[in-house]
Amino acid sequence: MDHRTLIFATVFPVPSISHSTPTPISTPDLRYTTPGEAFGGPSSQNLDGQHRTVKRNLAWSTATRFLSLPKQLHGLNTSLGSGTSFDIQNRHRGAEVEDALHYLLIGDGRSEEAQEETLVEWYTNEARLHFANVVRPTVNNFWDKEVETEQAWSVLERTQQIFQQAQALYLEPFQDHIMPFLEHSFPPTPRPTKPTQTIQPNQAEHAIWRFRQEVNAIFVHCLPPKRYIKTLSYALYEAGCRMFRIYLRQDEMQEDLTMNPARTRERLVSLLRGLERVGLGGEPAQQAFAHAMDKIMNSFISSHYLKVDWFDKQPVVPQLRLFIRDGFYPHVKLVMECLNCDSTVQPTELQSWQDMALSRLGRARVDTMFDFVINWDHSLGAILDIKEYLKVPGAKQHLTSSFSQQVLRRLLHAGATTTYILNVYIRIIRAFYELEPKGVLLERVARPIRRYLKERDDTAKIIILSLLADLNAEGGRKFSSNSELSYEIACEMERPSGNIFGQEADEELNYNDMNWQPLPSDASPDYKKSKAEDVVWFLLTLWEREDFINELKNLLGDHLLKCQDPHFEREIRLLELIKVRLGDEKLQACEVMLRDVLESKRINAAIHSSTGKPSTKDNGGAPETPANAGPLPSTPRPRRLAAATPSSQLLKTPVSAKVAEDPQLNAQIISSFFWPLLRDDHFLVPLEIQTLQKEYETRFERVKGMRKLRWMNALGDGTVTLELEDRTEEFSGLMPWQVSVIYAFQPQPGEEWAGGGGGKGGGRGKGHQKKSSKTPAPAITRNVEQLEEMLEMDEALVRQSLSFWVGKAVLRESHPDTFTVIENQSATKVDENAAAAAQELAEVQASAQAGAVRSQADLLAENKDVYCNFIMGMLTNQGNMPGQSIGMMLRMIGNFTISGEELDWLLQGLEKEERIVAMGGGVWGVKK
């Protein structure tokens, strides 16, 4: 029966193919006589044939009746649980049947030239039909709807059982009643030429093989393929999870107790073998298996290996490799064997699976890279995993892009303090150095961070102050999260910095360098070599060298003036450190500054020793507290520098009451040419100090060859002891103007004083100066204007000092703008509140004023007139302009650095003065 006929038969049932019942016993189907032929006479050509047809029909009828399958199956119930068995009748062939079979199978009744249906074909159809009518409905019960995951196993197992039974049912008659005949007629002969996939030693076996195939095909077609694959894949996955003890999210734990891995494995193997037997193995099963293994690998990695070893800091990659080798790989092999796969598992696949697992682990790790960086170095294990992962192709790309995004989202936003960003950046440097010592990745990842840090105003300040911070002395207190100091940076300073000397500028041209290596192939053009571990280097190179050094100059200046450490060790070290990294030619100014302060100490000592002898006897007391101020071209190079000097006067601690009577002055002599612009408010210092300054000046001129000193009274600090009626208080670290103001509350010549009253000591400087003088019995009262006049001091400074003293409960605001000394504290309870309020105010003001180096705001105030002239000139000549353009012109033509707010402030000021008017829309014009 040819293929075409079969296809046709599926649509238009052809009796000889589709007949489902054995041919009934009937009169032999003689063919009709053809016209012209003698009726009833023997056929002229094919008498033999006619006879054969009759005989074949008879035999057919007998054989098919014998072989037909029972219409019902007993005990095949549709529930999943109970086992059923088809009852397989043991049929005995009678002689008649025997003959018929023999005749049809190997005798003359064999179909010839594929024209008639063979008995084997009929039987195949019979089985097919039987399956459709009897078995299939049962199976469909299981598969019609989605298979619940919990039932996956039982459904599969049930299905497999049913199929197996059906298979047995169909095969048995075939084997018992058909095979013997076939085997007899065709003794086994090797047929190597036959190109079937399986080995078919002879036709008989070929026949049964074919039959088996047919039956299996029926089974396969009976199941919905996708659902089957899904279910099987789930079952395999679940088995895998149990065997490898992968715990999925919520449950599974208890179940696992009942099913140990070995039993699971057995069950799995038997199921797979069974499926394979009934023909459900093969392609779909492999597909399902591949799917399951893919999921198993993922689950395994996420359940076992995403855990980071925070304590031992070990990577998990080696274990993962072991798992793949000893768990995953054998499992795959086992299953493939069960499924009877043609393709065996190649050993090379082990490697590729390991790589696959590694890259999955790596990707999962990279997704949380930012957290690992934050928790460096407890996360070392995870970082090492990623390092391993980087060997996978494409991994670097993935790491940089993913991590950059994380950084962008989690770090570089306005909510993060600069200190925090710096700390994280340092951790990034360390973590990436571990990842890849060459620093290519780091460079790529850090670029946005560096750019962002550059934009922050306070970055340089924090870095430099942190570098100067004393790790031990601060006791960690200052390094809280919102502080201005970065603990990480301070720690960096503590590290030995030995290795940096190896890296000289022209490393590339050093032909004797035996350790030279080419740049990494994936480096970007501006990649700089090595130094990857040198955190300080990274921080110092954030800016252009000049910008950084300017900033350094300002901060160092401020710091040096305030610094208490007599030896300036940290400062010297920092400068050396920076010199090594940035080259020393640019740091001349900083060096001069450092030398200035050191030199000042020496000169102070010299001058004091010379003063000590002639004046008083107290020279032995505290020689380290001289204060001097002077134009000190102490450095050899700058002859012409104007030696402006901030003076800071020092008062020495009163060693005894007598010494305390003599204020002392220590000055710092500064070569103003090299220092940043320092604040230089003008005001008068107390008379005693002035005298001291004069004395100091003359001595200095003697020592230093007639160089002049210019005192900068606003710098420096002082200590005073106030002797009031009921108490004596000492204040140190005061601003000079504060000292001046409180000193002004001493009785002036001409004012009456009370004989035995308290004294106030005013002193300033780094040491302590002490003065005592008498205050009059009626407490002295001064108002703001008087003070301004007396001290020639700015109102702002006067007010700031006054509120400082009010805050210290030394003064009281008796009337608006009028202040009185609180001689007797107990008498004035009321003042406490006022004092507290004033203290706060003073603190705010002081913080705004504290810096020795002039701030942007100071500059603005100073340049206000020039700015205003510019604006006026612009508006007069160029006509009305919008505020934005004004700002732009100021920046471009005037080269001023002026911010939008500052400009607004200026413009509003001008508007108040009625010099300009707003024309609307942000446009300004000259007031006519």
Partner: protein
């Protein structure tokens, strides 16, 4: 050859530098009644404003001028023109000015401020011996009232100028 090619960039730099300095001078020590400001950041063109001196026909009037600096300034004088129409013996109707220091008497010690001051004083003391506007020179002495009338008739305020320009 080499000289000239070198001279140009250097020249450019010094012109800008000089003008920048002059600007700063003007801004730090402004002269009442006289101001000037660059038109844009390359500084070669400026606009200046002078107000007419009291006790002259030009009292209470404001005049705008344009100044253009060659790239060998200050070795050559700037080109100065009145933008505001002015009736004056030494200024023609297109605003060109006849003033010796803007011509042959120019010297590098002059600067924008001095030029503007000279122009301001020229308003009160025209040089009637070499007029560009003969009628004005004649009327200056003969008929001050008519002169005043003509000055006011010709003058436009900066706002009117701007309106015409647009």
């Amino acid at each position: 050859m080499a000289l000239s090619s070198n001279a140009r960039p250097n020249g450019g730099a010094t012109v800008a530098g000089r003008l920048q300095k002059e600007l700063m001078d003007i801004m730090t020590k402004p002269t009442p009644g006289v101001t000037a400001f660059p038109d844009d950041e390359n500084m070669t063109k400026w606009t200046a404003t002078i107000s007419g001196p009291d006790d002259t026909p030009y009292a209470n009037l404001v005049f705008k001028l344009s100044m253009e600096f060659a790239n060998n300034y200050p070795y050559v004088p700037p080109v100065v023109l009145f933008k505001t129409p002015i009736y004056h013996p030494n200024v023609d109707f297109s605003g060109r000015i006849c003033l010796d220091i803007l011509k042959d008497k120019w010297s590098a010690i002059y600067n924008i401020g001095s030029v503007l001051l000279s122009l301001q004083s020229l308003l009160g003391e025209p040089n009637n011996s070499s007029p560009l506007n003969g009628q004005a020179a004649e009327l200056w002495d003969k008929d001050p009232a008519e002169f005043q009338r003509l000055v006011l008739a010709r003058h436009k305020t900066p706002e009117e100028l701007d309106a015409n320009a647009v």
